[in-house]
């Protein structure tokens, strides 16, 4: 039984090191070759990337959340208890996440839970709205009585997304003037974005502020 688990743990640890840029080159070669063939491992990495990005951005912006809610961690704890359906899966992901170390500065805020991460994203989306990532004149979701609500935010900042074909057109036209390395990255980005969709609006750190990311984390 232990023997069956061990390779997964080794791989997870290698994935962590790879994403943290701490994996030796020789092991990187082997891991990348395995990633090409192993769809499940690749999906695990994709989950790490998403969760890691959420945590990295939310953990680095705790001041904004704290300002909104000095009693935040208590309500997160209550939310965790209420969200029976969510939990085990996300906790497992977070526990094994290469970004678990990102949690340390915010440990007191009970971030080590999928629900907490979701709440943070939700709050962040709202604070982005508050910061003005909206068309002028568009109404903001209310923060009732100074208390942030945890409802998921739809249609945030979707004032003027560039249609997919047009954005692809812009990137292709732009790539013509880039260096060979930059051009390769930009055109690769066009292909990699198919799963996420170009229409996704992002915040300054490149994290989507719409609900799709949250759904991805919970799935």
């Amino acid at each position: 039984m232990t023997d069956a688990i061990q390779p997964n743990e080794t791989l997870q640890s290698q994935l962590s090191a790879f994403l943290d840029d701490e994996l030796p080159n020789a092991e990187t070669d082997l891991l990348v070759r395995r990633l090409i063939k192993d769809r499940e491992l690749k999906q695990t990495m994709a989950r790490y990337l998403i969760v890691g990005e959420v945590l990295r951005n939310t953990a680095s912006d705790t001041s904004k959340v704290a300002a909104l809610s000095p009693d935040f961690s208590k309500r997160i704890a209550i939310s965790i208890r209420q969200e029976q359906a969510v939990g085990t899966k996300e906790q497992a992901v977070l526990k094994n996440s290469p970004w678990s170390k990102w949690l340390r500065p915010a440990a007191g805020m009970a971030l080590a839970s999928g629900v907490a991460a979701l709440a943070f994203v939700s709050l962040r989306s709202q604070s982005d709205v508050e910061s003005g990532w909206l068309a002028a004149g568009q109404s903001q979701p209310a923060i009732q009585g100074g208390q942030p609500s945890y409802r998921r935010v739809n249609a945030v900042t979707r004032s003027a997304p560039i249609p997919e074909a047009r954005l692809a057109n812009y990137v292709v036209a732009h790539s013509e003037f880039s260096s060979p390395l930059g051009r390769g990255n930009q055109l690769t980005g066009l292909l990699t974005s198919e799963q996420q969709g170009y229409l996704q609006i992002v915040n300054e750190e490149g994290v989507p502020v719409s609900v799709e990311l949250i759904k991805t984390v919970t799935e």
């Binding site: 003005g132 003037f177 060979p180 390395l181 990255n185 930009q186 992002v202």
Partner: protein, 341 residues
């Protein structure tokens, strides 16, 4: 006295030697960058790689051929719905099976631009700290590490593991000012081939029933009209390097395309005149590691696209000025719509 003089002389000698060594190291790094660019353009290669960005990863295959000054390149997504593109000196054909469409973008310079090897001048060092250091083997090949660290927040840098023999990038990381990885490409295998056949460069997508969207560059470019537009607050080092008019999906009239570069990073600004009235809004989107900041204003749609931090594309759009009766006026973008952090 003699001892003090000897000490000073020794210190000065060390300082000069160190400066000379650093300069030589930087020049060496720039040579590596140019060798890499040349290899990416002029080598024949076939490889599979993992592309990871902040929130996603994807497996790709790239097949690149260079023959008689002509480039043909095929990039295929091995995951998802199988999007791919074929790039030649003349055009990029982008196959999108999920939307049953094919986008064809003709290039302005059919022979020159894409096969051009960029020259990295010493001036680049004002904006990037460029250095080399030894690296362990990758793909069982001796590697050379080249670090290109941005000196400010307006651009990204690179960490490049280059094949010591051919200068092909075996692994590359796009990094921000703090050294965080924005995107990474790591090859699982890379074969440098003598010949690549036409068959290898054929798309796997069956385009029967697909919609084909073609665009031509307007070579008669109303250059003066394009050049009347200006970015008021350019990030340090960026300057206008090109401008043209071109067709764009969904636009009835040619779109103005301004290109700005600092010698390594490039930003395009697209200005589309439209008849929409009273709409004001902004959006920030991301394609891979490329940001697109977009604003609708009365009469214009302006979009800046570049593999640079979001703040760079945003500041360029918001400081754009347009000609009005001989005087330049700022676009009617409401700053209140975007809060600067």
């Amino acid at each position: 006295m003699i001892a003090r003089f000897a000490s000073c002389f020794l210190t000065m000698t060390c300082l000069i030697a160190s400066t000379v060594a650093t300069a030589a190291g930087t020049e060496d790094a720039r040579v590596w960058l140019e060798r890499m660019s040349q290899a990416l353009v002029e080598r024949n290669y076939d490889g599979r790689f993992i592309h990871t960005s902040q929130t996603q990863s994807e497996t790709m295959r790239i097949i690149h051929r260079y023959a008689h000054g002509q480039i043909t390149e095929r990039l295929v997504s091995l995951d998802g719905v199988g999007r791919e593109y074929i790039r030649t000196n003349a055009e990029v054909t982008y196959y999108m099976p999920d939307t049953r469409s094919v986008l064809v973008e003709s290039h302005a310079e059919k022979d020159g631009l894409l096969s051009l090897i960029p020259e990295y001048t010493p001036g680049l060092e004002a904006y990037y700290d460029i250095s080399t250091s030894p690296a362990n083997k990758l793909l069982e090949r001796k590697a050379q590490l080249v670090n290109v660290q941005p000196r400010d927040e307006y651009r990204y840098g690179y960490r490049l593991w280059l094949d010591a023999d051919t200068a092909m990038p075996l692994k590359s990381q796009l990094v921000d000012r703090q050294g965080h990885i924005v995107a990474q490409v790591a090859f699982a295998d890379l074969v440098l081939r003598e010949h690549i056949t036409d068959r290898d460069l054929q798309p796997a997508v069956d385009t029967k029933g697909f919609e084909w969207i073609r665009h031509e560059i307007h070579r008669q470019a109303l250059v003066n009209e394009v050049n009347d537009w200006r970015v008021g607050e350019l990030p340090p080092g960026f300057k206008l390097t090109n401008s043209r008019l071109q067709s764009v999906v969904g636009s009835k009239t040619p779109v103005k395309h301004l290109v700005y570069s600092d010698g390594l990073a490039t930003v395009s600004v697209f200005i589309d005149q439209n008849d929409m009235e009273g709409q004001v809004g902004v959006s920030l989107q991301k394609v891979g590691s490329t940001y697109a900041f977009h604003t609708d204003t009365a009469g214009y749609q302006v979009t800046a696209v570049g593999e640079v931090p979001a703040a760079t594309v945003r500041s360029m759009v918001l400081s754009l000025t347009h000609p009005s009766g001989g005087n330049h006026e700022s676009l009617p973008v409401h700053e209140s719509a975007v809060i600067r952090k």
